[in-house]
Symmetry: C2
Subunit: 143 residues, 2 copies
DNA sequence: TGTTGACTTAAAGCGCGCTTCAGGGAGTAG
DNA sequence: CTACTCCCTGAAGCGCGCTTTAAGTCAACA
């Protein structure tokens, strides 16, 4: 048993997915039917790896499988589809930007709330007498 | 029918959820049993709104319902739980940071790929002859 | 009076993205 | 030969976060 390429196990490890996910992705058309060894086992190429890493990156950023399927399908019919493919990527880039905005808003909010908790903890921890000078007068806002 | 507070409809509108979601959140304990009008209809307070907005913000940033439940439950037993609550928020802040990293990585990747598509489109659009001078020799990397 | 509309509940259903299961084959070590 | 490991397939199952359904109450309006 030789035949070049990575086994499904190896590939799964290399791109941070499970073997199940790799088969699933192939089944739903996210990746073209992959090469096989003589015994029928899958053999992944470096090109497969690059594509899978790309898919992984898109999934990590919440691109729906459906959208990835659209993109993968377009890729099959070559340069005729570059415009449409670019549009998909631009749309996803926009949703990524929106996600970043939401995340940064939440991050800032958490910074405040965490700081507030710290102050409350301080107030509890410190003996009542010692509180005079410190004006820690901000309280929890909705939780 | 008076009795102060927002109706479920109004509240849903104000915090960008559906009425269904508001009832669901109450049912699973994310929000305390809310006040009722004499006819049994829910009446939301400003405090409810603030809390719901906070929940919304956490959900938007992929905090699991389970975690929000934990946090909500802790909130009920007052200052005894500030430490634990702070830990939850700090953990979530960390996952937010991680998400931002992933998103920014993907964003950069998309910038490259989109630019690359633009070049390919250029190459296709421009008459063959005019191509000599432009060294647009970057091709698609895995998609 | 009867119809409309906003609300109520408990329970069932759904879309997503895998994950697990059941059953089988092929190669290798002891 | 047996046992073990790795792979195969098709199908069923699952956890999440709602969403929809079905059936009912109540108040206002024509």
């Amino acid at each position: 048993m030789r035949e070049t390429g990575y086994t499904i196990r190896t590939m799964a490890a290399r791109c941070g997915m499970t073997t199940h996910t790799l088969r699933y992705y192939e089944r739903v058309g996210l990746i073209q039917p992959v090469g096989r060894a003589r015994n029928g086992h899958r053999r992944y190429s470096d090109a497969d790896e690059a594509w899978l890493n790309f898919l992984h990156c898109m999934r990590d950023t919440n691109m729906p499988i459906r959208e990835m399927q659209r993109y993968a399908a377009l890729r099959e019919n070559g340069e005729a589809s570059t415009l449409e493919r670019r549009k998909i990527l631009e749309d996803h880039r926009a949703t990524i930007a929106a996600q970043i905005v939401a995340l940064e808003k939440a991050h800032a909010l958490l910074n405040h709330k965490i700081e507030n908790y710290r102050k409350i903890e301080e107030r509890i921890r410190v003996p009542r007498a010692a509180q005079e000078s410190t004006e820690t007068r901000e309280f929890a806002v909705a939780g």
